[in-house]
Amino acid sequence: MKHISDMDLQRLMDNELNDEQINIITEHLSHCRECSERYRELTSLDRLLNTYPNIEPAASFTDNMIAQLNKKPSHGFIWRFAYAAAAVILTVISFYAGIHMYNDYHTAQNEKSSSNEFFASSTFSNYSDNSFSSIILDINK
């Protein structure tokens, strides 16, 4: 015998089945002890959970709510905004400082390499024989 699935029992309890489906399932439940026991467990849980009462909000709820609408932003909001603004400013400053340092470094590197080239071309390259003594002689001139 094919039993009723848990989902179908749940659908039956939740009124989510059409008349034909209800008839088929209730007919099965009338002679299947196992399925009717499962359905009984499901409905007793439902009854227990329905004893959880509704709780009313305070009588002043609506007035408090309307008062909230006209409230200025809290300090918490202002501080959060201030922190966010500070973080953005710091990020921008760090970014530009980084670019500036990068440019300085490259300018220095370029100047260094061009001065080396200058020395190489103006001083030492004149001494084609590369002899140390000729350099000394030249200095002493």
Binding site: D6, M7, Q10, R11, D14, N15, E16, E41, L42, S44, L45, D46, L48, L49, N50, T51, Y52, P53, N54, I55, E56, P57, A58, F61, T62, N64, M65, I66, Q68, L69
Partner: protein, 167 residues
């Protein structure tokens, strides 16, 4: 929708019980329910002019209640179900032992519901306490009816295990 403060007062009056009940059952705590209800209505106020009437106003408020509750749970990480005010609102019985037993049952139900995973909890509250159909819940939470069924089934299975002693 052009909403004045006066219109909004009417909206609050008409929906506050529903919003508060969802919030209470979602958080399991009176103070948190108060907080969450206020957040829901503030959001309704903020976006009411965007409401185009594609669904009923009530469905739209349910939808806002759902998204606000999920965000609230994320923000507060772990919702506390203890110290609920439900005990104070229960009708007293003549028999003190019976009264204590009922308090314990209510506290256990409250804690068990509040401790369900967020989506399961919302599906369960909308079905069990708001009497919504699978289709309506799917519309509110933007999920399929099949997903509603599965979430509801898992929620009930967990509650059945947690509340076994009372069944």
């Amino acid at each position: 929708m052009n909403c004045t403060e006066k219109d909004f007062r009417t909206i609050i009056e008409e929906h506050k019980d529903m919003v508060f009940n969802i919030s209470y059952k979602y958080t399991g705590n009176y103070d948190s329910a108060q907080d969450l209800s206020q957040e829901i209505f503030l959001r309704v106020w903020r976006y009411i002019n965007n409401f185009r009437g594609d669904s009923s106003l009530k469905t739209w408020i349910y939808r806002i209640a759902y998204t606000t509750s999920i965000n609230y749970a994320k923000k507060h990480n772990k919702l506390r179900a203890e110290n609920g005010m439900i005990i104070g609102t229960m009708k007293s019985h003549d028999d003190p032992h019976r009264n204590i037993l009922n308090k314990n049952i209510m506290q256990d139900i409250e804690k068990s519901v509040a401790s369900l995973p967020n989506r399961q909890k919302m599906v369960f509250i909308l079905k069990q306490y708001e009497g919504k159909s699978y289709r309506e819940i799917g519309e509110i939470m933007n999920i399929t009816e099949k997903a509603v069924e599965n979430l509801l089934y898992r929620a009930r299975l967990t509650l059945q295990k947690k509340l076994k002693g009372y069944l």
